[in-house]
Symmetry: C2
Subunit: 365 residues, 2 copies
């Protein structure tokens, strides 16, 4: 083939990161297996059970129900589907406007009314705004633990109380934040609040190979509404959205969770937190408006011409809905990489004449 | 890890097969890429375009629209979704009872009424039965080109005419059959009939790595109803069900389609056809009731005790809804493997005393 894979060196906007070496090794070994057919591929099915058990530990849940999904979109969609079946006809689901676009996809697919609550100025769900949208037809409320754009953590316990009062389920989307939050003071998981379902993706900060999302549920019975009969397989039912599934994703998740939970992820959290803090300081000293990084995403205002020039130079960067340049400090985004990025940013800002200071902290990396 | 991947040696019931060496090589190279974010991972996005173009050649369609899906379930679900948007409220979709269970999953998710038409005695869609279920609210009709249980091919042109007369879309599920049918006399594809959408999976007989399903559409406009905005990615919209997607699946599909289309797949068709015919003859000579293999699936009556004994010996076999043992003669299912299987079958049948002849054609392999 004449194409080469994009190197992750200059990918600063991805919620994913290169798989950990043990994840890659397991993915390659289990490439030709299908956990969607557990009677034919029993060993990878056992690895999936193990991965779900460890995900339960990550998320504060003994004896978790769930499975390794194709990604966060599938997990969020299945959670909305569980809520729909839990509710009445004409069910609605209330999300903060910071929720991932997969909820719009899910609502469109499932025919569920989506009610979108404005967030606070800092990007967290506003409790009053959510409460105002909840009514007798509300089947589910969504809290985000690590928003895609700014890494914000919603007030999960208060949202869970609000959902419980309405007889609705609470879903937490911790697709990206779930491997950083266990090492913070945030209240976000099954042990902290009356959470019913959660998305937490091994293939993001968990460092598994794509595709390895995670759907967790407090009770096995919550998965019942997802069940379909599987007439030609020796296993008799299936709860996943895809039929055939990636053994590479499942095995890599099991392997890396074994390897890194909890100490390896704790070290990773410390490293990426330090990097994000350092980057925010560097940008601040240059005079950029920086959105305070709660988790390891840094967003800052950028001139469109500078942004385009950086993309032309090969930097894989993206913007928030409000136009800030957004850097996800995954494990592959080191200070060395960011130092090169800052040099290019300084040069392009000077070319355009944005008035930002260039390299005020030279030598500080 | 203490688990080993299931070897494919004894897997006789899977629609999948080990990836071709060029598919494996490409999957490993592109493991850490995400075609769901084409602005950050442009090379794998180009490979996806190439794969879709070649899938169009496989399916008789110039300038195809579509994408590499997580598998046949996603592709079938998206086709039902396209039909739903094409129709009115209260849309129904008519399927033959031989259709894959993913259509039940799709209908449940999408809130679409599924009408199931009985098949002929030979397992093909019955035109009269389908016509009886089609009405003014029918938004889609499904034809199967290679059924999961018996490898049967529905009368696609007649079903397409029927759908067109009703103002409905025609979807062909060739998830498994699509890489065998181009080398047969069947009328099944976009060139043969007024087909609107099709499922054809590289990760089955196409020999790509999981996950690599295929959704094709005659016109780009058919995909419009799948579109969601993607606020934080530099690409602006997305039609796929998952967000993050497997670069391994996409790159492996592109690589193996380059390598095998058309001559390699023609040779493969000849080999698996010969094997299926040989197996059917061997079983017939032993006195089993064998369902005539139209494509390369062989099903035959089996005593439950024999079936269980074979599974206990490690054979990964499965049964149809009617209880026949079903062998999918994928490229990894060689005469040597089947010879060992027949020896075990003969021994177990003798143990149980089913009265079948053992090894009547010894030496004929």
């Amino acid at each position: 083939m004449d194409e080469s894979p994009q190197s992750f060196d200059r990918v600063l906007s991805s919620m994913c990161t290169p798989p950990h070496p043990v994840a890659r090794e397991a993915a390659e070994r289990f490439l030709a297996t299908n956990p969607g057919d557990p009677a034919s591929f029993p060993s990878v099915a056992r690895l999936e059970e193990r991965a779900v058990d460890t995900l339960g530990e990550v998320a504060g849940l003994d004896d978790p129900a769930g499975y390794v999904a194709s990604g966060g979109t599938e997990a969020n969609l299945q959670a909305v589907r569980i809520a729909r079946e839990h509710g009445r006809n004409d069910a609605n689901v209330v999300i903060p406007e910071s929720a991932h676009f997969s909820f719009r996809k899910a609502a469109d697919l499932l025919g569920v009314e989506l009610r979108v609550a404005p967030t606070d100025a800092d990007g967290r769900a506003n409790l009053d705004a959510v409460a105002e949208l909840v009514d007798a037809d509300t089947a589910g409320v969504v809290a985000v633990a690590g928003t895609t754009e700014y890494g914000r953590v919603d007030p999960v316990p208060a949202l869970a109380d609000l959902a419980a009062d309405a007889g609705a389920l609470l879903h937490v989307d911790a697709a990206w934040g779930g491997f950083e939050l266990p090492f913070t003071d945030h209240a976000w998981n099954f042990a902290d609040a009356a959470v019913d379902t959660m998305t937490v993706d091994p293939h993001k900060l968990g460092r598994a190979a794509i595709p390895a999302g995670g759907l967790l549920a407090r009770e096995e019975s919550l998965l019942e509404s997802l069940t379909v009969d599987t007439p030609y397989l020796e296993s008799r039912t299936q709860v996943t959205l895809p039929g055939t599934r990636s053994g590479a994703g499942v095995a890599s998740a099991a392997a890396v969770l074994d390897e890194l939970w909890p100490d390896g992820y704790r070290d990773q959290r410390r490293r990426i937190r330090d990097t994000a803090g350092w980057l925010a300081d560097e940008l601040d000293r240059r005079g950029y408006d920086v959105v305070d990084p709660e988790l390891s995403i840094v967003a800052f205002d950028v001139d469109t011409r500078v942004f385009e020039a950086l993309r032309d130079e090969g930097w894989r960067v993206a913007r928030t809905g409000d136009g800030e340049l957004r850097i996800v400090c995954g494990p592959h985004v080191t200070r060395d990489v960011l130092g090169e990025f800052l040099d290019d940013l300084d040069r392009r800002a000077a070319d355009v004449g944005t008035g930002h200071r260039a390299n005020p902290g030279a030598g500080s990396r």
